[in-house]
Symmetry: D2
Subunit: 462 residues, 4 copies
C-alpha cells in the first residue's frame, strides 16, 4: 500500500483526531507528541462532543507551552469532520460508539439469560451489538476520508478493532489504514517478568521479547517467542506448569486495578489444551472461547479475571473527567512520561525516520494462511517510509483455526448486516457467537430484540 511519492515534512505535520474529545487517548497523544522532538505541526481535534475537544485542545496547547515539551504542536478543535480532515497527513480514530447507556445494555442485558461477559466490546452479544452501532459511524468516516484526505495514513484505536478496520476497507478499499492495539504488549510484559523471576534476567523491555503474532484482534496467538538467542516457549511452558493453580502475576500487575488484572490462568489453560500461547489479556481471550471460562461469574473468578461492570466504568470515568478539569484549570500537571503506546513511533517510521516491526491489524493479503483474503487479521508488520508491510506469519493449527474462523465469519456477517441493515443476518451472527450457546434459541431471540431496541438510537434505518 501507499505507492505514490509522499514527501511529508515531519516538522509541519497535520494530524486529524477523530474522537478528539476522548479522555484517555487524547492524553496519550498529547504526551507522546510532546516527548518526540523530531515531529511538530498541528493536531485537529474533531468530536461530536465539541466542548470536550476544546478542553483537550486547551490541554494540548498548555503542554506545548511548557519548557519540557520537545515536540511543538498547535491543537485546534474543529466543528466539522471536513475541517479536521482536509490536508491531514495522519488521521487517528479513537471513539466510543454510543454512550454508557448502550454499553450497559451490551454488557449487562445478556446476564438476564445467564450470559456473562468480561468486557463486552469485541465479540459476544455485547461486542456484536456494539459492532452494529460502530459500522455506520465508520462507514461515515471512510466516506469522509475518501472525500477529504484519501492519501492520509489512518491509525485506528477504536474497538471492535476488526469491525472498524473491515468497514473502512469495505467502504473505501484504497484507504491506508491500520489498527493498533496494546494487548500483545501485556503478554510481552508478563514474559519479561518471567525472565526475571525464573531465569534471573532483569530489566528486559517488553519489546525485546520477539513474538510471532497471528490471529484476530483480542484473539491473537503466539507460536514463536524469543529473547535474544533464547527460545522462550519452554520458559512459558514451565511457568504454565508451575503456576497452574495460582496463576502468575507479572511485575507491576500485582498492583494493577483488580478489574484489569491478568494472572494468565486462561493463557495457561489454553496452552495446555492447544500448545499455543494466547496473546491478549485473559478477559479478552475468554470471550472468544466457547463457554468454559465464562460459564458464570464464579468460573471467571476461578480463572482469576473479573467481569468489568459498566458501573465501575462510570465511576472511573468520573475521576478521569475531574482530573482533566484539574489539568485545564492548572491545578494538576500532565506528567510527560512515555505511555508505552506506539502511535508516535509508527508515524515516525511512516515518515522514514526509523523502521520497526510491530503487531498491527490489516486486511489479510497473505500474511495469515487459511483466513479469507481481505478480512482483518493481526500479525507483525514492518513499518517504514510510507509503507506498512505485513510479515508472513504462517497459519494456526486446525483446532485453533476453527475457534478463530468462527469469529472471522461472524464479524463478516455483522459488518455486512450493519452496512445493509439486515436484521436476520445480524441475528444469525449473534446466535452463532460461542457465548450464546449457553442461552436457549428462543431466549437468544428475545435478548437480541431487546438489545437492538436498546441501541436503536445509533442504528437508524433498522
Amino acid at each position: 500500500m501507499g505507492n505514490q511519492s509522499n514527501n511529508v515534512d515531519a516538522k509541519n505535520l497535520v494530524i486529524a483526531y477523530l474522537g478528539g474529545g476522548s479522555l484517555g487517548w487524547a492524553n496519550v497523544l498529547v504526551t507522546d507528541l510532546a516527548m518526540e522532538e523530531q515531529l511538530s505541526g498541528t493536531v485537529r481535534l474533531y468530536d461530536i462532543d465539541y466542548e470536550s475537544a476544546c478542553l483537550n485542545a486547551k490541554i494540548g496547547n498548555m503542554v506545548t507551552a511548557r519548557a519540557d515539551s520537545k515536540g511543538k504542536w498547535e491543537y485546534i478543535a474543529t466543528k466539522t469532520i471536513g475541517e479536521a480532515l482536509t490536508g491531514a497527513d495522519f488521521i487517528v480514530a479513537s471513539i466510543l460508539p454510543g454512550t454508557f447507556k448502550e454499553m450497559h445494555s451490551d454488557v449487562h442485558t445478556p446476564e438476564k439469560y445467564g450470559v456473562y461477559q468480561s468486557v463486552g466490546d469485541t465479540v459476544g452479544p455485547g461486542g456484536l451489538i456494539r459492532s452494529l452501532r460502530t459500522v455506520p459511524m465508520y462507514e461515515e468516516f471512510a466516506l469522509n476520508i475518501k472525500k477529504y484526505a484519501p492519501d492520509a495514513w489512518v491509525i485506528n484505536y477504536t474497538n471492535p478493532m476488526t469491525v472498524c478496520m473491515r468497514t473502512l476497507y469495505k467502504v473505501f478499499p484504497e484507504i491506508k489504514a491500520f489498527g493498533c492495539c496494546h494487548e500483545v504488549f501485556g503478554l510481552q510484559k508478563s514474559v519479561a517478568s518471567m525472565l526475571s523471576d525464573y531465569r534471573g534476567i532483569k530489566n528486559v523491555e517488553r519489546d525485546e521479547i520477539n513474538v510471532n503474532v497471528l490471529g484476530l484482534n483480542h484473539f491473537t496467538w503466539v507460536d514463536k517467542m524469543s529473547y535474544k538467542d533464547m527460545d522462550l516457549i519452554p520458559l512459558f511452558a514451565e511457568v504454565a506448569e508451575k503456576c497452574n493453580d495460582s496463576g502468575y502475576l507479572g511485575k507491576g500487575e500485582e498492583n494493577a486495578n483488580s478489574v484489569f488484572r491478568d494472572n494468565n490462568l486462561v493463557k495457561f489453560d489454553l496452552y495446555k489444551r492447544y500448545g499455543l500461547i494466547g496473546a491478549a489479556g485473559d478477559r479478552h481471550l475468554a470471550e472468544f472461547m466457547p463457554p468454559r471460562y465464562l460459564l458464570n461469574k464464579e468460573t471467571a473468578e476461578s480463572f482469576g479475571f473479573a467481569l468489568t461492570t459498566v458501573d465501575w466504568r462510570i465511576g472511573d470515568r468520573k475521576k478521569v473527567v475531574e482530573r482533566r478539569m484539574a489539568i485545564v484549570n492548572g491545578k494538576e500537571n500532565l506528567s510527560l512520561t512515555m505511555t508505552g503506546e506506539e502511535g508516535t513511533k509508527m508515524i515516525k517510521a511512516l515518515l522514514g525516520l526509523g523502521d520497526f516491526v510491530s503487531n498491527v491489524n490489516l486486511p489479510n493479503n497473505m500474511q495469515m494462511d487459511g483466513i479469507p483474503k481481505g478480512t482483518v487479521v493481526e500479525t507483525n508488520a514492518l513499518f517504514s517510509k510510507d509503507s506498512v508491510r505485513p510479515l508472513y506469519a504462517g497459519g494456526l493449527p486446525d483446532d485453533v483455526q476453527n475457534l478463530t474462523i468462527r469469529h472471522v465469519y461472524n464479524q463478516e456477517c455483522i459488518v455486512e448486516a450493519g452496512l445493509t441493515k439486515n436484521r436476520q443476518l445480524a441475528f444469525n451472527a449473534f446466535v452463532n457467537d460461542p457465548q450464546m450457546s449457553k442461552a436457549d434459541y428462543e431466549d437468544a431471540k428475545k435478548l437480541f430484540d431487546e438489545m437492538i431496541e436498546n441501541t436503536k438510537k445509533y442504528i437508524p434505518g433498522w
Copy 2:
C-alpha cells in the same frame, strides 16, 4: 483425475466389494447389477465376516442364475483383501465401523449429559468417535488399494463419508475415489411431491428436479432448483410458509418407517433463517446445527423427527438377517426392482456408456468457494468416460459458511487425530462440536474419556 488410458471391457468387469458381507448394500448391488444388461463380470466380496460374504455370494449367484437377470455376474467371497482387490476395475466400500456395541456408545452415552443425537454417525459426539474407529480402517483400505489396485475407481458408501474420503486421499493422494450418498434424493422426492400437490404436475422423477448442491455430506445445501423451465425455489418457499406448523410429508413418506420419516420442518425453519434449502434429511441436518432442533427429545419431536435408537437398529437388523436366510434357502425371492441408487449408473458412465450429472463427495479443487483445497465437499459433478469432473457450485453465504466450516475443521482434526493417535486433538474437536455446547466442559471430558474407553477395541495404539 484419471488421465491414463483406461479401456476397460464392460462385459468383463471386476468389482471388489469391501464390506461384502454387509446386509443392505450387498442386496442393492446384486439387484442393480442384475437389472443392467450392458455390464457383466465378477464381483469379489471381502468382509471381516467371511461367512456373511459367502452368504451374499450365494445370493448373488442365485440371482445370476435367474432368467430375469440381465447382467450376468459371478460372485466370489475372498478371504483376503488382496485377493479381492488385485485386478479390480471398480472397488465398492461399504462397511460398518465396529459393532452395535460401539454404536450404542456413540448414540446413547452422551444422553447421560443431556446430549441427544438423531443418528450419531457423522458428527456430534457419536459421529466423531465413530470417525476415530473408521480412520484406521480406511487408512488400511487406502494402503491396500495403493498396493493392489491403484488405478481402480473407488466408490465409497460408508459413513462418516467425509472422514472416509479424506482418509483415503490423505493416505493415497492419487486414489480415484468418490463418495455417494442418497440424502439429496430425499429433497428431490419431496419437491417432486410438492409439484404434484401444489402445482398439479404429476409423475415427476426425482432426478428431473435439477439442484445445485453444495456443502458437506449430510449438511448439503441447495441454492438453485428447477424443473424444466420452472424455478422451484418459490414453490419451496410457499410450502415452507404454508406447512410451517404441520410439516410436509412427500408422497410415500406418510408410510415410511416413523424412525426415518422426514416432514421437512427443520428444512423449513432453516430456509426461513438462512434463505437456503438444506439438502439432507432433517435428522442429519439437525445434528450439524448448534442446539435448537436437538435440545432434547421433545424439541426433536416438535420438529417432527425421531431419535433413532440402537435398540431399534438391532431389532431391524434381525429381520434383515432372517430375510437373507429366507432368500438363501430359497424361501423368498430377491425382487428385481430398481433400488434408486446410482452406483451402477456411475460405473457405466465411467466406462463411457452414458454421461450424467449427480452430486458426489470429492476433495475440493475449486468446486466450492471458501472451503480449503483438499477437504472433502459434496457438489454436483459430471460422470463420463474415466472421469468425474466437479461442477463449479459457488459458495455459501457467510452465515451458512460459518456453520459449515466449523465441521470442516472439526473433521480435519478428527482425521488427523485418528491417523496420529492424538488424543488431545481428538478432544479439541469433540468439545468444539455444536452438540457438545450443551454439556459443561468437565462433563465433556468425562464423556470423551468414557466413549474412547468404549471404542478402544477399534483404536489400537491409543
Copy 3:
C-alpha cells in the same frame, strides 16, 4: 451466476442482436431459430449500419412467413441500442470491429517487417491492434447492457473473444455473459473422421466426441478425449504418427475452401512436442506459438495452412452481399438446414429446456488451475436452467502453461491499455507477442506507431 428467479416464457422471447446487420451470423440465427419449434418471440437487430439490419430483418420475417419455419419470430431493426436492449431476455453480440481497411492494416502491415499472420484477429500484432479497437466498443456494450438489460444472458461471438469477454466483465462485473466459438468443433469433426478411416466406425457426430477442453479461445487444448467407451488419445497419436508428412484431412475438409482448410499438421507437431492436442484450427494455433509455423509464407505452407488475405475476404464478402440481396429479392431461398452452431441449443438450456455440456468462454473461477481468477478461459460448462456452470478442467503442464499464460497477461495488458488509453502499456504487450520476436525492437516501434495510426478512427482519445 444468475441466481435470481427468472421464469422466462420460451414462446415470447426477446432477443437483441448487437451487430444485427452482420452478414454471416444473422443468417445462422435466422436459420437456427426457424428450425426450433420450442421457441418464438421477437428479434431486435441493432447495427451501426441500420440499412443492413433492415435487410436482415426483412429476410428474417420472410423466413418466418414460410411454411417450413417451425419457430415463429418477428424481426425488427432498431435505430438505437437502447431500443434493442430494453426488456431483452437474451443478447447476441457479433460485430466486426472496424472495416476491411483496418483489418487490412492488422493483417498486412506487419508483413513489411517479415511478420506473417494466418488470421490476425486474435493475437499477434493484428489481433492486438484489433483488440484496441474492440475494447471501447465492448465498454459501450457493457454500459448499455448494465443500463437497459442487466439480467439478460449475453452470448458473444465477436473476436477477439477473450478481449471482448474480459471487457464486458471488467466494466459490468455482474453481467451474465459467455462466449461461443466453434473452433473446437473442428477437432471433433477431424477425430470423428479418423474414427471412420482408422477404426471403421462411421457416422459419428462431432458432439459424440467427448473432450476435456482447457485454454484460451483459439488456443485451447484437449488432454482427454473419448467416444463412448473408447479412449481416443491413442487414435490421435496413431494418426499424428502416420500422417506426419502429409497431414490428415477429415471428411468434408478436402473440399473446404483452401483458405480455411485444416490438415492438422500443426496439431500433429504440437502433439509430438507437448503431448497435448491443440483444439483450434491450425491457422489459429500457429499464431499463438513462438515462430515456427509462421516464420514466413513458406513455413505456413509447409504445415499445410494458408494465410488468409484481406483481399480474399473482400472478394468473399462481395459474394455474400450479392447472395443476401438475392434472398431479399426472392431470387434465392435461405436453406433451412442446421448450421451446427449451438446458440439456439444454449438458449433452450438456459430456459430449462434441456441441459447439455459444451465448451464456452467465461471468467476463470477455478475451472482452470494456474490461470488468474477473473481472466477469461475456455473450458467445458454445463448449460442448464438459468445457469452456466464451468466444469473443473484441471491445469496445463508447465511447458504449455507457459505458452498460454504469456497471452493471458498480454491480453490483460491490451484490455487495460484500451480502457485507460495507455499507449506504452499497449506497446509493451505488442512487443511481447511471440510473432513480434521476429522483428527488431526498433522495427516493432515503427510498426506499432503505423498500425495505431491506421486504426486511429476507432480509438478516439489516443
Copy 4:
C-alpha cells in the same frame, strides 16, 4: 519455518561448507567470520576437489591464528559430505556446477547461431543447460541434508539460484534453506552514489537505501525506494533522464573491471518502458529480457555492458589460484576488511543476535502476488531468531509480470526435466527462452543437442 526450539550456542557453532574448496566464497567466509567476535566454532569444508578444500582449511586456520582475528574458528576439510554435515548448525552451499569446459559450452556454443549471452549462468541457453547439471547435484545435497542435518539452516550462494533453491525444496520440502545474492546491493550502491552526485548527500551506506524488492533472482525489481524520509524514485527517474545516452557510473564503478562494469543503461531503458527499476546488474537483466539488449555484441556495447567470456574467466581464475598459493605460503596476507556480504549477519540474526531485513530467495508463500506458491522468488524478509519471514512485497504490473512468469515456468520445467531426465521437456523450456527467439527452430534443436552432448558428463542417465 523452523518452529522447533533451537538453542544453538553461538560460541560453538558448526558450519558445513559444500563447495569448501571454492576460491572466492571461501575467502569471503574466512574473512567475515574472522571479523565477527560474537561467533566461533568449527567450519567443515567439503568439496569434490579435496585438495582445494585442504588449502582453504589451511588459510582459515592461519587466519584464526592471527591476532587481528576476533572470531576463532577451526577449519577442517572432510572427505565425505556426511562428515561435513553431521551435527552442522549451518550449511553454506557454493559450488561451480561443472568446469570451465562446460561453462565454455554454455556461454559460447550459442554464438554459432547468433545467440549472445552476457553471463550465461542463470537463464538463456547457457543458464538452462547449466541448470540441468546443477539439479542432480542439488538433489544429492538435499538428500544428504535430509539424512545428516535436517534441522540445519542452509544458505545457498550457487547459481542458478532459483533452480538450486527449487531443487532443494522439491526434494526435501522441510529444508530450512534460503538463497543470498548481492545483485540488489549494486543498485543500492548506484543510488547512494546518485544521492551524492545529484543531491549532495554524501557517505550514505548501501543498506541505508530502503528498497522493496520483488521478482526472481537476477531479474528483481524495485517499486519503492527511500533514504530516510526521502522518496528516491524521483531521483532515479531524474538520473535516468539525464544520463539517457551516457549512462551513469556510480562511485567506485569507474574503476571496476570493465567486464563487470554497470552503467545502468539497461535499467534506465527498462524504467522508461515499464516504470519500474530493475534491481540486478544490467548484464543479468539483459539476459531475461526478450532480445533488445543482446541482439549481438554491438547492442550490448551500446548499452554499456560487456559479454563475459570464459577465456577471461580462465585468466582471472589463474590469478586467484596464484594468490591463494601466495597466502598459503605466507607470501601474502588475507586482508581482513568487510566483504559486504551478509552471510555472517544472517547467521547472527538466526541465532537471535540482531534482527534485520534483507532480500532473500525463498519459496513463494504469499510474499509475491501472482507467482505460483512454492516457486522461488526474491523479496525482502525479516531475519530473526531461528526464522526468516518474508515481507509482503505486492505484485508486479501485468507487463512486467509477463516477462517474469515466463522464466518462472521455464525454470520449473528445467528443474522437473532435470529430476526426471525428460529431454523433451528440457528442450521445450530451452526453445521458449527469450534469447532463443533469435534462432530458428531447427537451429535451436541442433544447438540443444550439441550443448547437451557437451555437458553429458554431468547429467548421467540422459
